[in-house]
Symmetry: C2
Subunit: 385 residues, 2 copies
Amino acid sequence: MRDVCIVGIGQIPVGEHWDKSLRELGAEAVHLALLDAQIERPEALIVGNMLSGQISHQENLGALIADFAGLRGVEAVKVEAACASAAAALRQAYLLVAGGVMDVVVACGVEKMTDTAQDNTTAALAAAADAEYESEHGLSFVGLNGLLMQRYMYEYGYQHTDLANFAITAHRNAVNNPNAMFRKAITAEAFAKAKMIASPVCLLDSAGIADGAAAVVLAPSTLANALAKPKVCIAASAAATDSLALHDRHDLLELAAARISAQKAYAQAHTHPGEIDFFELHDAFTIISTLSLEACGFAERGRGARLAMENEISLQGRIPIATMGGLKARGHPVGATGIYQVIEAVQQLRGEAGANQLAGCRLGMTQNIGGSGANVITHILERVS
Amino acid sequence: MRDVCIVGIGQIPVGEHWDKSLRELGAEAVHLALLDAQIERPEALIVGNMLSGQISHQENLGALIADFAGLRGVEAVKVEAACASAAAALRQAYLLVAGGVMDVVVACGVEKMTDTAQDNTTAALAAAADAEYESEHGLSFVGLNGLLMQRYMYEYGYQHTDLANFAITAHRNAVNNPNAMFRKAITAEAFAKAKMIASPVCLLDSAGIADGAAAVVLAPSTLANALAKPKVCIAASAAATDSLALHDRHDLLELAAARISAQKAYAQAHTHPGEIDFFELHDAFTIISTLSLEACGFAERGRGARLAMENEISLQGRIPIATMGGLKARGHPVGATGIYQVIEAVQQLRGEAGANQLAGCRLGMTQNIGGSGANVITHILERVS
């Protein structure tokens, strides 16, 4: 396997883009990434997306976005793994370059969620869960996370507000991210008073609905040498799956696929949680942040929430997370999120993270989760120059 | 790049499966393919599917089908390229094995189209076209093919019945295929009298709506040596894209992506149309068969229809197509079709095609088309023992 670097990044500010269609968002992100990489035409485009069929009545996104990005003819395909679609697209692209079957591949994540009725989006998102055992019976995706959170709080004796710092930290970090949707700090009082969505999940426990697109250009390490930017390589890429339905898990409070994919990633990069400088985790819900920190070895079982309570997740903490706002405050355009996470990690490793820059960071981990932990893709990025 | 072989095949008979859900169809096909390959657990599962989100409110198919096929935990993802989704999944799987990043990968195509209202399926299929320029304005996918067919007949002076043999041949071949949906020969009279759908496309010009699933197991050639079956390798795999919208094509009557992907495939396999023993083409509509034969070099421009008129597409003809019934008569569960095509090619090359067996065939080509020629994936398979 060849070493693979991220030689170009491009992102559209996350938000409600009423003036831009799905294809325009995707094409613009691809264009920006190619510009950053100073590359004109990749060998392939892999597009991550979850909802375009359901919400925009548009499939065949690979060919569509290739065409509107000025790449007509190029090989292109869409990859879907629910909310982990973008990282899944990145992983496919990575494997093509690592295996030496292509040299320059673009991975793009794109999602347009706002241009429909709110309840349509909620129904569409439920397709990440098990249709036959969960969503057809009325369980929304937020509802599933409510069940998980309730069980966690019951099992380990936490209060709802014990998880507040996940949201507060994300919003504080988003203030300095020009690409974030919610550039506004929130207080513990606001968190405690937030509107209930699916008990105990409140509005400020969960990431909002958003439009967005983000793209990265991958190339072998040797080609990356020619570029001026600090070099960021993919030190590890790993994926694992679990049952979609929560009732069928061996252990409800362990994200087994997150654990397995993180362990594979640590092994590939010859590293361990103690060496990871920051973790762009999948904070779609505060309970998922908690469980991810535990599954990936940053906290003992039942102690993930304590990392938030003790402020160890801030930029100054032991394991900074959501350094540019995370899903919670940068925004969570589901099929694009995984590549936003990776771009933010690249920004940190290149030293381009502005006011949120972590000093001297070398290893950043990203984790994108599809469904309630059903498909989990972990990447470890490393600054090598 | 390593040589890659197809070491296992599994297919569900195409039809209306009211007693089987999407996941059951997919899991059964994966199970059959692994059984045929005598392999217990692959390193990854790539699922091709177009419509599950829109029709079954189910995404995250990679993890779902992995779990129900008894492969919980294994890396898995869904790939989408409209009606070319299955061949796109196969190509991703092929690239992983060819690049040496994995040894055993399963590609599965699955589609459940019948378990909804008929107009829902028609609307969902329109997502293969350009939503903003075509389908939102009322053009169905059949309507687009009607426009293409009308232009072709006008430009080259054909009558509708000149294309009859595409359908007649497919139905004749399907009679002997136990996995085909329509195992019934049709007459020229029936074709001429068939109900109009979108002028000039009649009922018998077009493939029907169906459920189905098919899977193949890929492994490097060296591993395939250990197996008893005749060895079938992937001599070429190539993809290309075009605009989704017909109005935006440089040339309405040339499937440019089909031409490019076929040319790439011929170059990879060091072959040319004259050496191809049979061609499993994408006969979703008779006009697409015609244009595909021209784009891939089996007929001059405007002469594709003549191959049907002169019976050169029959099992005894110069270039047999749809040897087990094709999309028209085996059936076209869209996101599964590309792998049915490949399995039928493997059956021919292994000598397992029964009454439809082509004597002494060595090279078979398959071509799967997403949208009206927007994403085209071509494979050339070769019997090497």
